[in-house]
């Protein structure tokens, strides 16, 4: 069966997404001709899609992959961490300052939350966004601080520790913010409130 227009268009897009593995994506797509119609064909195509998408994501989010050392530059991880921590830092700092009577930074948040329904939306979304941003910052900087090594006989995984001040600073700030937020959440959950 000859490939249709949609199939050729998809092949072009996926091959483009494949980057340095474009030939492999093309090779996997060419095998579609061998797959029988129906479920097997869809399964095969799904696998190729996930491969091309994974390659595109890797190229976009991890541009250092495939280069010498295969690790993100320390500065990149630190910058990424700082950007990711801006929102959680503002939120935690504003809330803490508000507790000691400096409400100017928390005022915009309080104003926004005053609108009916927004508090519920905030409570549903904020934990995921704020803790997610902290987790991303920690993940990126843990990745450059503890670099994985090679497997020896499939049993040992060597790990190199690289202590760079900027990455350690992001780790410390991210850890502090996570501890404050989780500590506060635990404190709230276990506080005795008489009826």
């Amino acid at each position: 069966m000859k490939p249709g227009l949609l199939e050729r268009l998809l092949a072009g897009l996926l091959t483009e997404a494949g980057g340095k593995h474009a030939d492999w994506v093309r090779a996997a797509l060419a095998e579609l001709s061998a797959a029988p119609d129906g479920r097997a064909r869809m399964d095969w195509l799904w696998g190729v899609l996930s491969m091309a998408f994974g390659e595109l994501l890797t190229r976009t989010l991890l541009p250092w992959r495939g280069r010498e050392g295969e690790a993100p530059p320390d500065g990149f991880a630190a910058l990424f961490g700082i950007v990711a921590l801006v929102l959680p830092f503002y939120f935690v700092a504003a809330a803490l300052l508000d507790q000691i009577g400096v409400g100017v930074f928390f005022a915009p948040i309080a104003y926004w939350l005053a609108e009916p329904g927004r508090a519920r939306l905030f409570n549903a979304v904020a934990p995921g966004v704020i803790l997610g941003a902290i987790a991303l910052a920690l993940w990126a900087n843990l990745g450059v601080t503890f670099r994985g090594g090679r497997h020896i006989a499939g049993l040992i995984y060597e790990m190199k520790l690289r202590l760079r001040p900027m990455n350690l600073a992001v780790l410390a700030l991210g850890g502090l913010l996570a501890a404050l937020l989780l500590g506060h959440a635990l404190g709230e959950a276990f506080t005795y409130r008489p009826h």
């Binding site: 994506v25 093309r26 095969w44 799904w46 696998g47 190729v48 006989a153 499939g154």
Partner: protein, 100 residues
């Protein structure tokens, strides 16, 4: 260069490549090993990058069809495939730890 991990999938792919002998198509390997394309091709890429696998393109006899990719173990790949069924040797690990 990516390390080869001796997973069940790697072993079954090497077994299929060894048993097949000559050039193999990706879909045939998938059917034989039960590996989906999303698992099979990353493995093929790693084996090729390690020099365990050689590849070539084969023109389709049917006009309008794209050429197909073929795979075959290199001499090094065959040697590695022979060890695939064996458990990892303990001695190098122990010596690495300074126990021997």
């Amino acid at each position: 260069m990516a390390e080869i991990r001796w997973t069940r999938q790697t072993r079954s792919l090497l077994a299929a490549l060894t048993a097949g002998g000559d050039w193999r198509h990706g879909y045939d390997l998938s059917r034989e090993t039960g590996l989906k394309s999303g698992t099979l091709y990353p493995l093929l890429i790693r084996l090729t990058e390690r020099g365990w696998l050689e590849t070539r393109w084969e023109d389709s006899p049917e006009p309008g069809r794209p050429p197909r990719h073929l795979y075959r173990l290199t001499a090094e790949g065959k040697a590695q495939a022979l060890t695939a069924g064996r458990p990892p040797a303990a001695a190098p690990v122990l010596s690495r730890l300074g126990w021997t």
